[in-house]
């Protein structure tokens, strides 16, 4: 649904996005992660057709997005810094959105208005920052877009509202098979929501993975034997990380989980536990062991 191919963009001669590729499948949620200044917002502004790339292609449903009103009307976008017409209430804004987007869904608008308990007659500029974000969500989601691009959408939202938002997005993905791209500077935020994650650093895509594949591919295992840990196992396993805690050995191992467990069990361990891995850990180990490199990027 969203395809970015070999995107290159420079500001005043300095490259800000280099050789960037990204794909968001239909009916999936893509998490774009990166520290401040990594180029997330710049990338997003290309995807929604605001910026024109220096090189490369940006396609929505296979068509270039830039100056393409038909494609743009399929894209819902919530920017990092919000903008509403000055002096407008949510009702005024909704009237404008309703006229501009054919697929406007008044029922959803009413539903979300009730859900968030916003006063649609109040001037949006009088709303708090969080409420303004909610207003933007209401307007954008009510347009029923096929592609939803959210730049730091949950900044300033309280956990309860956040939960409601995620629920609604996930419902849209499963029911209407929309494609969603969410950016965040915090990997933890995206845990449990995204199907794929891309990490952006210095204008380059450092790593791009499907989470299911990742999670089944990397395992955190705690194991203890009566005697020393059998050295020969090191050669058989793809060990990303190994740590000794007294008599217990902690492994981060890559490969088929069942096969690995089978292999360890054969040597009669006293203890054998498979521990949960956070997204953060997965990326740290995937990217190079001790994690110093990626810590600079993400946290």
């Amino acid at each position: 649904m969203i395809e970015v191919k070999n995107l290159y963009k420079s500001f005043n001669g300095y490259p800000v996005l280099t050789d960037l590729n990204l794909t968001v499948q239909k009916g999936s949620i893509y998490g774009l992660v990166g520290a401040n200044g990594a180029g997330k917002t710049t990338l997003i502004k290309h995807i929604v057709g605001v910026f024109k790339q220096d090189k490369g292609d940006i396609l929505i449903k296979g068509c270039p997005i830039f100056e393409n009103t038909l494609m743009k009307s399929n894209v819902g976008y919530i920017s990092d810094d919000l903008f509403f017409f000055s002096m407008y209430s949510l009702k005024n804004m909704s009237r404008f959105y309703k006229k501009v987007y054919f697929s406007w869904n008044q029922e959803r608008y009413q539903f979300m208005l009730n859900l968030f308990r916003l006063d649609e007659n109040k001037r949006i500029s009088k709303f708090s920052k969080g409420m303004q974000k909610q207003a933007a969500l209401i307007l954008t989601m009510s347009c029923m877009p096929e592609v939803l691009v959210l730049d730091e959408p949950i900044d300033g939202l309280d956990p309860l509202v956040r939960k409601k938002v995620w629920k609604m997005i996930i419902e849209d993905v499963s029911e209407r098979e929309i494609s969603v791209l969410i950016s965040s500077h915090n990997l933890k935020e995206l845990e449990g929501i995204c199907d794929s994650i891309g990490i952006l650093n210095g204008g380059r895509m450092v790593i791009e993975r499907e989470l299911d594949e990742l999670k089944s591919d990397i395992s955190k295992i705690q194991v203890a034997y009566k005697t020393e840990f059998p050295e020969e196992l090191f050669e058989k396993l793809d060990v990303l990380h190994h740590e000794k805690r007294g008599s217990v050995d902690l492994f981060i191992v890559k490969g088929n989980r069942n096969a690995i467990i089978e292999m360890l069990k054969n040597l009669n361990p006293l203890v054998l536990d498979v521990l949960p891995l956070t997204l953060e850990e997965i990326f740290i180990y995937e990217l190079g062991g001790d994690g110093h490199e990626i810590e600079g990027i993400l946290f």
Partner: protein
């Protein structure tokens, strides 16, 4: 999710939203127009036809302050507010993410802006049409000024100013990245063409010896912008040429804005200048202005004008360049980025050199004798074709010869430091209708001793052309009044028509016989001559000051004597109480002071080595016969205060070369040739 369609690139939704958001500008402007035109007219409606001239005249010429202010600022405000979304990162992203093309956005915003600023004018125009009734001008033959045509002209003119101002402000908005700069550029560009014209006139004036930056040229420059045109003359009538120019400029600006918008990189919002290629242009233009302005200022300040000018050029351009760089980079720490200034200096040096070398031969060029129809020969810049026009071959030839001597001597004439100068304008009307014009400021001495000028000045054609007395029918003259230059009490009126005729004849004879040297003489005249006449066709009394009655007009003086008039206008030594004299030097250029008694009688001052006091009748007569009434500030000589018995005083002057020996001896100064 599909977008609703737009028609002819006008997006209905954007248009409606623009109207909804910015109708306030229209409303405010309408109220101002209503309160300053329709309301005052209605309030004085019953007496409008008789007393409404000034009110209607002001309204229809945009002469009222507040409406004029709105006429210029409402378009700017509309453009700044409508295109404000371009100057802010959030709004740029959100607006351009909507399913509109840039073309739709631009076209729609321009149309809504033009409607917003035009509606008040159109509404007011319609209201004026509804309430119009004849209002007559105060001229002798009254004309109705409150007509449909006049109202439509006002509507057209106002729309032209508003829409051209709007297009300028839109252009400013597209090229700049902040609303503040858009406002500054939008306001500044209104004056850009006249400003550039004025700056160029300075260079032409300064570097093209003979350049005539006369009235027509400055009018042309002022009319380059409708705003300066209106500001300059309140009853602005845009000529059709300028109307076409303004319309063309408006179209060009809107087209350029459209093209630039298509290429505008939206990430450039909040930058000062949104296009890289415009940055040097901006910096160099600002530097050029700074250079010229400080150059002009320094010329006035310093004793060495050439040095002052170049110093001004360098200092002015550097300061302006730094400021421009600060604006472009939005920081005050620009001192490491001044390499571009060197480039500017090279271009500026080339420009100044090019202008100085006169590659087109402007300074040397003279018209060809055979192609000249007539020549205007006068001492104030004019290109009026009917005035002082000489057509005789002799005069055309002499003028050309004189012109040739100026051109041949231009190198030193240009640099001559004489403080006594003489302005001369030479306008040749060519047979093909073109005008060849030059204006020179020449050293007085150069002019005074030129044989060709003498030939022209002594020609009957020139004398007749420059003295209106030759064109007045003597039978129309009612009164000729002669007033003594020194003592206004001494005056006579000639009212006898026969005497008037005789006087005119002798005066004409003296004028025609006057030598060039006498014309150039600064000797104080005996009296002033005023002519009063009534034209057959006109009821009003007319008069003008004729030539001064000079002491060299022997025929006229003789006639006055025979008629016993001379005595009545001549000031004799007996009328003079004293004459005090002091040297004119650089340190002291004030006339000797007069002192008065408690009863306000003139007191004869005490002579000192620096102050000569003359009371001797014979000496006074010598002074009266020879004193001059014109002097130049720095020229050496003697300053006179003539105290009269009636208590009034007058001033006079002697040059070193014209002063009587007894004055020179008194101050015991070595003779210095003039």
């Amino acid at each position: 999710m599909k977008s609703k369609a737009s028609y002819f690139n006008l997006n209905k939704n954007v248009f409606i939203e623009d109207m909804r958001r910015f109708w306030g500008i229209s409303a405010l402007y309408s109220i101002v127009l209503l309160f300053s035109s329709v309301f005052p007219i209605l309030m004085t409606y019953s007496t409008l036809s008789e007393h409404g001239y000034f009110l209607i005249n002001r309204i229809l010429n945009n002469g009222n302050f507040l409406p004029f202010l709105f006429l210029t600022t409402a378009p700017l405000a509309a453009a700044v507010l409508i295109f404000r979304y371009l100057q802010n990162n959030n709004s740029t992203a959100v607006i351009h993410a909507f399913p509109f093309t840039r073309k739709e956005l631009f076209v729609t915003h321009c149309i809504s802006g033009i409607i917003i600023i035009s509606l008040p004018v159109i509404i007011n125009g319609l209201l004026l049409l509804l309430i119009k009734k004849p209002v007559y001008s105060t001229e002798l033959v009254p004309v109705d000024i409150f007509t449909t045509a006049a109202i439509l002209k006002w509507v057209g003119q106002s729309l032209l100013i508003a829409i051209s101002g709007f297009s300028i402000a839109v252009f400013a908005g597209i090229i700049s990245g902040t609303s503040l700069l858009q406002t500054i550029f939008g306001a500044g560009f209104l004056f850009l063409l006249p400003a550039i014209g004025t700056l160029l006139l300075f260079y032409f004036d300064h570097f093209f010896f003979g350049f005539n930056s006369g009235w027509k040229m400055s009018q042309l420059v002022i009319n380059l912008s409708p705003i300066t045109s209106i500001l300059d003359h309140n009853d602005a009538q845009f000529s059709s040429g300028f109307i076409i120019l303004y319309i063309l400029l408006t179209i060009i600006l809107l087209a350029a804005s459209y093209i630039l918008y298509m290429f505008r990189k939206l990430e450039r919002s909040t930058d000062s200048i949104a296009f890289d290629f415009l940055k040097p242009l901006f910096k160099y233009s600002v530097s050029f202005c700074g250079m010229t302005v400080l150059g002009i200022y320094f010329i006035g300040l310093s004793e060495n004008r050439i040095f002052g000018m170049y110093l001004g050029f360098i200092v002015g351009s550097l300061i302006a360049y730094i400021i421009a760089e600060m604006v472009v980079e939005k920081t005050i720490w620009v001192f490491k980025h001044l390499k571009g200034y060197l480039f500017f200096l090279i271009i500026a040096a080339l420009f100044v050199t090019l202008i100085q070398t006169d590659i087109t031969g402007y300074e040397r060029r003279l018209p060809v004798f055979d192609k000249i129809e007539s020549v205007y020969y006068g001492n104030f810049p004019s290109d009026d074709r009917e005035f002082h026009t000489l057509m005789s071959e002799d005069n055309i030839e002499s003028s050309l010869e004189f012109h040739q001597t100026i051109v041949d001597n231009r190198k030193w004439l240009e640099r001559d430091p004489s403080s006594e100068t003489y302005n001369i304008t030479l306008n040749y009307l060519m047979k093909d209708g073109k005008v060849f014009t030059r204006q020179y400021t020449l050293p007085y001495e150069f002019f005074k001793h030129n044989p060709y000028v003498k030939k022209v000045y002594e020609s009957a054609e020139y004398i007749k052309a420059t003295n209106p007395i030759f064109h007045v029918q003597e039978k129309d003259l009612k009164i000729i009044s002669l007033d003594s230059a020194l003592l206004p009490d001494k005056s006579i009126q000639i009212i006898n028509s026969f005497e008037i005729k005789e006087f005119c004849e002798v005066l004409k004879r003296d004028l025609l016989n006057e030598s060039f040297e006498d014309m150039m003489s600064r000797k104080a005249p005996l009296a002033r001559i005023e002519f009063f006449w009534k034209d057959n066709n006109e009821l009003q009394e007319k008069y003008y000051y004729g030539p001064a009655l000079k002491k060299s007009y022997a025929n006229t003086l003789n006639w006055l004597e025979v008629k016993d008039y001379l005595d009545d206008i001549t000031v004799y030594p007996e009328d003079i109480k004293y004459i005090s004299i002091k040297r004119n030097s650089e340190n002291s250029t004030t006339y000797p002071q007069e002192t008065r008694s408690a009863s306000n009688n003139l007191m004869i001052p005490t002579a000192t080595t620096d102050l000569m006091v003359v009371t001797d009748k014979e000496a006074i007569q010598t002074i009266l016969d020879n004193y001059e009434n014109r002097h130049y500030h720095n020229s050496e000589g003697y300053l006179l205060t003539i105290g009269l018995n009636n208590g009034s005083t007058n001033n006079g002057f002697f040059q070193i070369t014209t002063a009587p020996p007894f004055i020179i001896n008194y101050f015991n100064t070595p003779m210095v040739s003039d």
